[in-house]
Symmetry: C2
Subunit: 253 residues, 2 copies
């Protein structure tokens, strides 16, 4: 195990027991990798997380993730050294392969609708990302709200607390990483940006409920820490190990 430390070029692949558990290649602050932590945790699938430095990638990463991206997974329960990459492909695979706590609805049509909604969230990600990396213009926050209207309306139409019903489902988990990161707006932008409770009553409640979800808690990072990481990234030296080092400091102080 890497103890949460991000392994860089030259680092050896950590020794892991031959226990048949899934191995997830991840980066602690990557929203796409977080999607897979959420799915694995929601379905209570045991796994090993191997954190990698995405600026100076370890050589062995490409054997597990041909494009060198995270998330990627090794699947020792399958035959022939199977591995997969791409967050949505992995998420769909996990939901098909591990029937416990199904995250997609059962009918092909309902499932297709969820996939359209996840795809539609790409347009929210696109504008949010501009704020995260400091590339926003006046109007970007308005644009985020405009694009979130569809999700507020959808949640209202469904009449449930989560997109997945009484429990979070695939839509909830696939969009959550960016909704968690929205908390850093307060820190990045200097003035408070909060989701307008009158315009987004359902989404505001949804965010609060999501933060209480067991799977969400498993990979949750505060807006303050997201903002601090993003600041190091903007400066060209992403501090992947920030949380590990903070924890160490707290233990020793």
């Amino acid at each position: 195990m890497s103890n949460g430390k991000h392994l860089a070029t030259g680092a050896a692949l950590p020794f892991l027991p031959d226990d048949g558990k899934i191995r997830l290649y991840s980066m602690r602050f990557c929203p796409f990798a977080q999607r897979i932590h959420l799915v694995l945790d929601a379905k209570d699938i045991p796994y090993h997380a191997i954190y990698v430095n995405l600026t100076a990638k370890p050589e062995w990463l490409y054997e597990h993730s041909p494009p060198g991206t995270v998330p990627a997974v090794d699947l020792p329960h399958e035959s022939g050294n199977a591995s997969l990459y791409e967050s949505l492909v992995i998420a769909d695979y996990l939901d098909e392969k591990f029937p416990q706590r199904p995250l997609y609805p059962r009918t092909p049509l309902a499932k297709a609708k969820e996939r359209l909604l996840i795809k539609k969230f790409d347009s929210v990600i696109e504008v949010m990302y501009k704020v995260f990396v400091g590339d926003h213009v006046p109007g970007t926050l308005t644009e985020i709200s405009n694009r979130l209207d569809h999700f507020e309306k959808e949640l209202q139409a469904r009449g449930s607390e989560f997109f997945g019903g009484n429990l979070p489902g695939m839509v909830d988990y696939m969009i959550w990483p960016w909704c968690e990161r929205a908390d850093m707006f307060t820190f990045l932008l200097g003035d408070k940006y909060v989701l307008d409770e009158e315009r987004f009553p359902k989404l505001v409640k949804w965010r609060a409920l999501m933060k209480e979800d067991k799977a969400v808690k498993g990979s949750y990072i505060t807006g303050e820490h997201h903002a601090k990481y993003m600041e190091t990234r903007r400066q060209g030296h992403p501090d992947y190990d920030m949380l590990v080092n903070l924890a160490k400091k707290q233990r020793t102080s």
Copy 2:
């Protein structure tokens, strides 16, 4: 029915019998829409095609395809005026809903691998598109070949004629529209661009076999016609009805 004519702003939605058949909103030269023609034809699912002018869209298009894009489908066999858009979402839905002639392999892992391969073809589409629209630089053709290497290798590794095995499967149909359009390189570039038979022996054979496939024949357009259409598009006046008008001319001459 629109008799293949592309309906524009102001045109009425054509009257169609209440026969429960799928209605596919399409544009004759759109490679993404062709994906769905291929899936429907491969699975022998009867459907009505409604062709739309994408420059001057008919008002009713948005009722069936909220983003106003093609392909989109109405699904009268489902309850509640169901419709879907996005080629890959529709293709996956059709394969799940209509079990005849399955296009994806059965196991979750094999299916996930096919989805990665389809996703990987996006990088081929990206460079091919530059040639289609006349935005290419020296080296673009080399880049296309470089990106096709992976597909040649994959087909060799599979040891079958098609990516799907003895018959075309989802990968074959999802990538075919761009491979069909590669025939227009000869017309667009003035000099002959052909797939190098020594470098791509499997893909060259695959292309020839695909052209004999019944579903492919159903929506096939020659490289010359693709090139002529693309020429009108480059000039800012895409001639959607080119083939309908050609057929009419041939009938009356």
